[in-house]
Amino acid sequence: MTIGRGVIRGHAVTLRRFLVTFARDFRDGLALRRRGGGGLLVDLFRGPARGEERVVVQDATTEGLFTVEYPDERLPVYERFRVLPVLVYDDEDGNVRCTSCNICAKVCPPQCIWMVQAKSPKGTVVPLPEDFFIDMDVCMNCGLCAEYCPFDAIKMDQNFELANSERHQTHVFGLQDLLVSSAYYAQTHPEAWSGPEEVAERAKVAKKKDRRLQKALGVEA
């Protein structure tokens, strides 16, 4: 009898898929838990706290495709993942690295960066930004600003949760929104931060920056 053999085999394939999901949940100890959720059988509406979510890795070893329950579970964020630019200040002395040289603003393809140069009381130029703006609605996350920055001041951040209920005031990020510490950058980009070339480059740039700053302030004084 060959009648309907293909249909029966097809049903066996889907049934296997169905059963495998239970085996997987059982193996992960998640059969009775909400995936990524609390450990209780009944955890009505409570999800894990921010930052304590289960990180789900989906790679070649993953059996089947499964949904990542995003707010409760996350995919890992890799170092080169980039969203918006931020301005780095050094933890040791609190100096903003940016010299307000305007290279990033010139190179920015959608022209979403602009800044105000800091001035001394005498009116001379100080290599610091008075204010710094990025329109996050316009930014296309290309990372050219970070590539071109001669002082390693502007870097690409990994925070992608930027949803907002108001867009006219809050979507143009000012200097205070953009500043992050070098410790934060070191945490999100461990490889870029601790590579030997990076360390040497950092020292060189810091020296250069320091010289320029001293010169500017010396003129002022």
């Binding site: 009898m1 049903h11 889907t14 898929r17 169905f18 009944v42 495709l65 499964f66 949904t67």
Partner: protein, 419 residues
């Protein structure tokens, strides 16, 4: 001439269900209406939707609803509220009254089907002596409702869906009805309660060759009757938007939705009663029913067992429908019609003859004996296998038309093969 005496004794009158309309009958019917038809059955349907979404998600390596309540259990409540609150849009050019009436008709048909299902001993809303005829009659109201929905919407997709629905439902009603004839033949009654009693004495109907064939055809025809994949052409969303309920929104769409799942539930119940021995857990034993000794306690015990097993069997059918839905793609309309008229109908008609053989060998001698049963398996089993082979062979070889300019593998006719 006295009209009453003229009518008395006619077959129609003799078949009528005679119930004393006492207070207790009214209370029981009221309870069935309020607890069963207004409370329990819609609740079951709501959770069937939840179950389908969960099961379908498993089949596709997803999770399914899990946001509203634990395991997403309150999802059906949220969905119901959403449907109730949504705006009810009726197209200006629609036939207003019919547009409102159509979903109600479909729903009524689905509800009425459940009225004769014996869930357990004594747990049946009504038991008319011609219950199966009633069942067929009320289940064929739903094509009317669907057609009215498509017609009144004044929309080409609705009308296309309705036309497909009517063609499909009318076609598949025939194998569905024909496949119940063996059951009626063996039980000697159209009453679903008698059919249940017959299976308590003679084993489940699905467990003999003609019964199994009838069971399969009934299942396939039922899936087509309730418009589920692979027979969901009337509401094929990739071709005709949503078919007959394209122009329905809000709770009117909700009624169609309710009716569809209620149809799945009632068809599963009917299949359980007709072929899987209702709520009996063991196929060839009268196990829980023979515990009845007239006391209330034994009644509760027996009905508890019967109800539990009954729900398990219904769940099995419901799961099977989900499974088929997760596996098979939609059929083409010409193949759908071919399958009903060229395969199922001839098979069902042949099967009535095989059922008669089984009746002569096993049922007529009186009680069920192992010797008769073995003889029946041979005498009826062989013809069933041959009959299935004959119908498929005839359709695939003899009656197969030569496809013109086919670039897909085709089946040659026998005349060609012997050339």
């Amino acid at each position: 001439m006295d009209v009453g005496s003229a009518l008395y004794g006619t077959p129609l009158f003799a078949q009528s269900h005679r119930v004393d309309l006492t207070v207790s009958t009214c209370v029981i019917w009221g309870l069935w209406l309020i607890v069963g038809f207004a409370g329990l059955f819609p609740g079951i349907v709501a959770y069937m939707v939840w179950l389908e979404r969960k099961v379908a998600a498993r089949f596709q390596d997803r999770i399914g609803p899990n946001r509203v309540g634990p395991f997403g259990l309150l999802q059906s409540v949220a969905d119901g509220l959403k449907l109730l609150v949504k705006e009810n849009i009726v197209p200006r050019s629609a036939d207003q009254v019919v547009h409102l009436l159509a979903p109600v008709l479909v729903l009524v048909s689905a509800f009425l089907t459940l009225a004769v299902v014996p869930f357990a001993v004594g747990l049946v809303p009504i038991d008319p002596p011609s219950g199966l005829v009633y069942l067929i009659a009320v289940s064929s109201i739903s094509p009317l409702g669907i057609f009215l929905a498509g017609w009144s919407s004044h929309n080409k997709y609705s009308l296309l869906g309705a036309m497909r629905a009517v063609a499909q439902l009318v076609s598949y009603e025939i194998p569905q009805v024909l496949s119940t004839i063996p059951v009626v033949l063996w039980a000697g009654s159209l009453s679903l309660v008698s059919i249940f009693d017959h299976q308590v004495a003679y084993g489940w109907n699905a467990l003999n060759p003609p019964g199994f064939l009838a069971f399969l055809t009934f299942l396939i025809a039922s899936v087509a009757e309730v418009n589920r994949t692979p027979f969901d052409l009337p509401e094929a969303e990739s071709e005709i938007v949503a078919g007959y309920h394209t122009e329905y929104s809000g709770m009117r769409f909700g009624l169609f939705f309710l009716a569809e799942y209620l149809g799945v539930f009632s068809v599963s119940c009917v299949a359980t009663v007709l072929f899987l021995g209702g709520g009996t857990p063991l196929p060839f034993s009268a196990f829980p029913v023979n515990l009845l000794d007239g006391s209330v306690g034994s009644y509760l015990l027996v009905d508890g067992i019967l109800l539990a097993v009954f729900s398990l069997k219904v769940l099995l059918f419901v799961f099977a429908m989900f499974w088929v839905r997760a596996t098979l793609p939609r059929m083409r309309i010409d193949r759908l019609m071919n399958f009903a008229w060229k395969y199922l109908v001839p098979l069902c008609i042949l099967n009535i003859v095989f059922a008669a053989i089984w009746y002569e060998v096993v049922v007529r001698p009186g009680a069920l004996t192992a010797r008769n049963w073995a003889w029946g398996m041979i005498a009826a089993g062989l013809p069933v296998v041959l009959g299935v082979q004959l119908v498929f062979r005839a359709n695939r070889k003899l009656a197969a038309a030569r496809a013109v300019d086919a670039d897909w593998p085709t089946v040659g006719t026998i005349a060609e093969a012997s050339r």
